[in-house]
């Protein structure tokens, strides 16, 4: 379409039709004051401050909602406009309480800033403030609606960005205010306390509760959130070297736009708690006591060397970290492989989908890694399998809800539980736990029967389709229906929604941590190949990584079978290549994964373990077993930021820095590589982890030193093709797809991808003594095992108890009422919980949120309960439930 040309303040401008006058002006560096406008929200023209005048017609218009038209001559600051603006501000101030001096918004108040700019001091109007009570019962947000100017940013953020719908305007005229349904307090509404509304509120109507400091921060700087795999861009405000508040960054093109979640916004208390480690510690006479860095590293280096000399390199093991940076994981595994000559290196996210990742890696040859979340909102259809992103990775949940609610993209949710996402879906498949593989194969069989598949894609890129078809034609839907608990009609309906479309699969821990996870992933990849849903934007497989740098830790080779770049250790050519790079002979022996490390420690074969930034004693199943195993070690070195269950057992403790106290890089679940700078300095003598590792290199006698992050980034970008752009221009880059499997261009040479065999049932042994299936899953208030989020005062004050959810049928059968206490036991341990009754839960299921009560729910599962092909099987287990008399 032709561009429209117009004049704004004498400047000739051209822009596409449909652009608002405000946008056209902003893009050309002309500032217009606004209160209700935000680039990520639909404009509504509520505040009227953006008035401009068309010189030709004399018309006065709100520029945010008026599109440009040809030959307009706009004045944004004429005397008449100024007069109107001043009057609007005067009226707003007449309706506003005169509490600026004590208002926590202070100089950041946009109303106050604009009033100052326009020179409005005394308003000369009779003040008519609309006093309302202060709402501050919840520990996150204070609402003082007397300061509300009705800009509607909170409401639009709630509806358009996070799609929760907890608030909307209520009443009209002078009484009009944003309100929850039935004017209930926020904690009784559907509010998820993401705090997006607080960040967007231009005045002090919405503010943070329980701040450590009242007033504006001295410094603000950008960083990347260290909690989940989304990698939100943050702005952290600090005073005297302490983080006092967190907001979404103002940068364009970030993964989270203007949103955050309750964790990212409200759970950074762990940074400033007294449990932070501030000095190296060495165990002397059974007690951990402070030491200098030199002493501590001397003990580490000597200890590792002498154990290696005595028992060989296989007696040493190392846990890298899915929370530490790309640079740190690279250095860490380099020490392990180059200096200590072993491949015994892993990280704690092994149980969060390593087996599934290996499978995808193998099949797609490392392709399909780049998955921008924005693609979901442009997908043809979305299929969520075994994921509850509104809880586990909330920002992905926002994308899915926007896709469904605003873009009307069909959404299927396959989950045993009626998750929050179900009410936004076109179809819910309430299947039995770990029956996903059968359901996926049945859908493929239905599509095959309807002759609905992408034959071009199949011919060009796959092999073994005939065999696969044989498998599909023998699928017995009735049998699958019995196994999955899904009505055949429901599966037919799902096939209707999929037919003829490219699918965007969203995969969570329901698959990644499930005992048949690899079977499900095989079935899912088959379905993706059959429908040709690989290679484009808004299709393929979106893996929901739980930890901030889970992807980066694997990419850097913090895994027993991966060299950096996720290259296979067992490939001789690749290993030779790395031997040349590092000028050392690499061990071809497979390394121990985290579970095998524990087993070897139990057998006294493992003598030393070095843990960087992980708390296995809290996060792994069977904590007794873990602590016994760790106690068997001759040397346990723990490098962490907090005094944890694991540091308590250590012989040497090295205090590291949290993400806000160091520079580094995280790779998120999209494949976005985000570098960041420190916001504040580490506490006490704590050091950024990469500096600690560099000192260790020196202590171990390695010639090369890393004096800055730049040096490490240069080495990585040089040696790892996937990260070749790391450390280049800018702070953000993307995984470089070195695989030819990314876009599936027909003209590129590649190995065809095999279809996997069709499997639709498994023999499950029934456990009479443990009749319930417990599903373990996360709630949005905690991340992982809750080591860090557990320190949040606000989340603690919120008083969540992590109640176990049971169906109304089962609770009636056990004579349980809401709030009754039960003991939940498995063959491996037992926990007690209060019960909450869920009408929508299927009988026989019980849902236990993880991370609560010191994450004791992991006592129910077996560490080594591995299912198919190393799928951990930590997602669900068989339990019995007994009522506890009070």
């Amino acid at each position: 379409m032709e561009e429209i040309s117009l004049t704004i303040n004498g400047k000739n401008i051209s822009c596409p039709p449909g652009t608002s006058i405000l946008k056209a002006a902003l893009e050309n560096g002309i500032k217009i004051p606004t209160l209700c406008y935000h680039p990520h929200l639909e404009p509504v023209g509520a505040c009227r401050l953006c008035l401009v005048e068309d010189e030709k017609t004399g018309r006065i218009m709100a520029s945010c909602v008026t599109p440009v038209s040809p030959n307009m001559v706009i004045q944004t600051d004429s005397p008449i406009i100024k007069k109107h603006r001043i009057n609007i501000i005067r009226l707003m101030m007449a309706n506003h309480p005169e509490s600026c001096i004590v208002c926590s918004q202070g100089n950041r108040c946009e109303l106050r800033q604009i009033a100052a700019e326009l020179g409005v001091g005394q308003i000369g109007l009779y003040p008519m403030p609309h006093y309302t009570g202060l709402e501050e019962a919840n520990p996150f947000i204070i609402r003082d609606l007397s300061k509300c100017i009705l800009c509607g940013k909170c409401i639009r953020a709630d509806h358009e960005l996070v799609v929760v719908g907890a608030i909307d305007y209520n009443l009209r005229g002078f009484k009009s205010r944003p309100s929850t349904v039935h004017e209930m307090p926020l904690e009784k509404s559907s509010c998820t306390f993401c705090g997006t509304c607080v960040s967007l509120c231009p005045t002090g109507a919405l503010s943070l509760k329980n701040t450590r400091y009242v007033g504006s921060p001295q410094n603000e700087s950008s960083t990347i959130c260290g909690f989940c795999g989304v990698g939100c861009s943050l702005v952290m405000g600090s005073v005297d070297g302490q983080i006092i508040e967190v907001n979404p960054s103002h940068k364009e093109g970030t993964v989270n736009r203007s949103t955050l979640c309750v964790r990212g916004h409200f759970s950074h208390d762990f940074l400033n708690v007294s449990e932070r480690l501030t000095s190296p510690l060495i165990r002397r006479d059974g007690e951990l006591s402070p030491a200098t860095w030199d002493e501590a590293l001397e003990v580490v280096a000597k200890g590792l060397k002498s154990i290696k000399k005595k028992n060989g390199p296989q007696s040493l093991a190392f846990l890298g970290s899915s929370k530490c940076t790309v640079e740190e994981n690279y250095l860490f595994q380099k020490i392990v492989r180059v200096i200590l000559g072993t491949n015994n290196v892993d990280n704690c996210s092994y149980g969060s989908g390593k087996a599934v990742i290996n499978l995808i890696n193998e099949k797609l040859n490392g392709g399909g890694r780049i998955k921008p979340l924005a693609g979901l909102e442009a997908a043809e259809m979305i299929f969520v399998v075994g994921a509850d992103p509104t809880q586990s990775v909330p920002v992905v949940g926002y994308s899915l809800k926007r896709a469904s609610n605003m873009k009307r993209i069909p959404l299927i949710v396959a989950d045993p539980r009626k998750t929050d996402l179900v009410s936004f879906s076109s179809l819910w498949l309430p299947l039995a736990p770990h029956s996903d593989f059968a359901m996926l194969n049945a859908l493929a069989a239905i599509l095959y029967k309807r002759q609905s598949y992408d034959i071009d894609f199949i011919n060009k890129f796959t092999e073994g389709f005939d065999l696969y078809c044989d498998g599909l034609s023998s699928v017995d839907l009735k049998k699958v229906s019995r196994f999955t608990g899904l009505d055949i009609k429901l599966m037919e309906k799902a096939a209707d929604l999929i037919e003829g479309k490219k699918i965007a699969f969203v995969i969570g821990h329901g698959i990644m941590q499930q005992r048949y996870g690899t079977l499900a992933m095989d079935a899912l990849l088959n379905l993706a190949l059959m429908t040709g849903s690989l290679g484009g934007d808004g299709q393929g497989i979106y893996l929901l990584a739980r930890e901030n740098n889970q992807m980066g830790a694997w990419d850097m080779g913090a895994a027993p079978d991966f060299l950096p770049g996720r290259q296979s250790l067992y490939n001789d050519i690749i290993r030779k290549h790395w031997e040349q790079n590092w000028e050392v002979k690499l061990s071809p022996d497979p390394g121990l994964n985290i579970i095998r490390m524990i087993e070897e420690a139990e057998k006294h074969n493992l003598k030393a373990l070095y843990i960087m930034g992980e708390n296995p004693l809290r996060s792994l199943p069977q904590p007794k077993r873990i602590s016994n195993a760790l106690n068997n070690l001759e040397l346990l070195i723990v490098q962490d930021i907090l005094d944890t269950e694991t540091t308590q057992l250590a012989d040497v403790v090295l205090p590291g820095a949290a993400f806000s106290e160091k520079g580094g890089t995280f790779t998120n679940l999209e494949g976005r590589i985000q570098s960041f700078e420190p916001v504040v300095s580490p506490p006490g003598e704590a050091k950024p982890d990469w500096e600690i590792l560099d000192l260790l290199f020196a202590k171990m006698g390695y010639s090369k030193r890393y004096s800055s992050l730049k040096d490490i980034r240069a080495e990585i970008s040089n040696l790892v093709p996937m990260y070749s752009e790391l450390g280049g221009n800018g702070v953000e880059t993307w995984i470089k797809e070195t695989s030819n499997m990314r876009l599936f261009h027909p003209d590129r040479e590649r190995e065809p991808i095999h279809f996997s065999p069709v499997i639709t049932t498994k023999n499950e042994k029934s456990e009479k003594d443990y009749p319930f299936t417990a599903i373990l899953g996360s709630l949005r208030y905690h991340l992982g095992s809750g080591t860090r989020t557990g320190y949040s005062d606000r989340i603690r004050d919120f008083g969540l108890k992590g109640e176990a959810e049971m169906s109304s049928e089962d609770s009636a059968g056990l004579n349980l009422k809401e709030g009754d206490k039960v003991r939940i036991s498995s063959p491996y341990g037992s926990i007690s919980r209060e019960v909450t009754i869920k009408r929508d839960l299927s009988p026989g299921l019980i849902f236990i949120p993880i991370a609560f009560q010191n994450n004791d729910s992991r006592q129910l599962i077996e560490l080594t309960q591995l299912g198919e092909a190393d799928s951990p099987g930590w997602k669900e287990c068989q339990v019995k439930v007994e009522k506890l008399e009070t």
């Binding site: 509806h159 929760v164 719908g165 907890a166 608030i167 909307d168 305007y169 209520n170 009443l171 009209r172 309100s179 929850t180 349904v181 039935h182 509404s189 559907s190 009410s423």
Partner: protein, 162 residues
Amino acid sequence: MTKPEEIDWGQLEAIIDKHRGESWALIPLLQDIQETFGYIPEESIETIAEALNLFASQVQGVISFYAGLSLKPKGKYVIKACRGTACHVKGGRSILRYMKKELGLDEGETSPDYKFTLETVACLGACFLAPAMMVNRAYFGKLSPPKVTSILAEYGKKKGED
């Protein structure tokens, strides 16, 4: 007009079902309920929202915005006293005061037996009849205290009865 305890929830569900899935039909649906029951029971907000794929807060916002929709049960007879300029000049203020006394109700209140609701309106558009009032859809003009008494008596309000 229906008293809250007499709401036929089945009938209400049926009205909602008629519009299921039609998010554009919020206002007609609300009018339908308002017409049938005289008000929109607060308990039905969530059900309406679910049926129309809207947020409950949006439904409440629409109900509370329009004067023609009410969350509070109203009386069988809704009396609207005019507060327009012409009525004011003609003594509308004392007429309203008299009505309040006669009915024993303040503005916006409903009698405990759900017979009468007293409301005021910015202007009824019947200035030639000033001072004017409406009872449900019937207009009454050129009001005086005795006339008000007799109109109220017509609707079953006996003098001195509360």
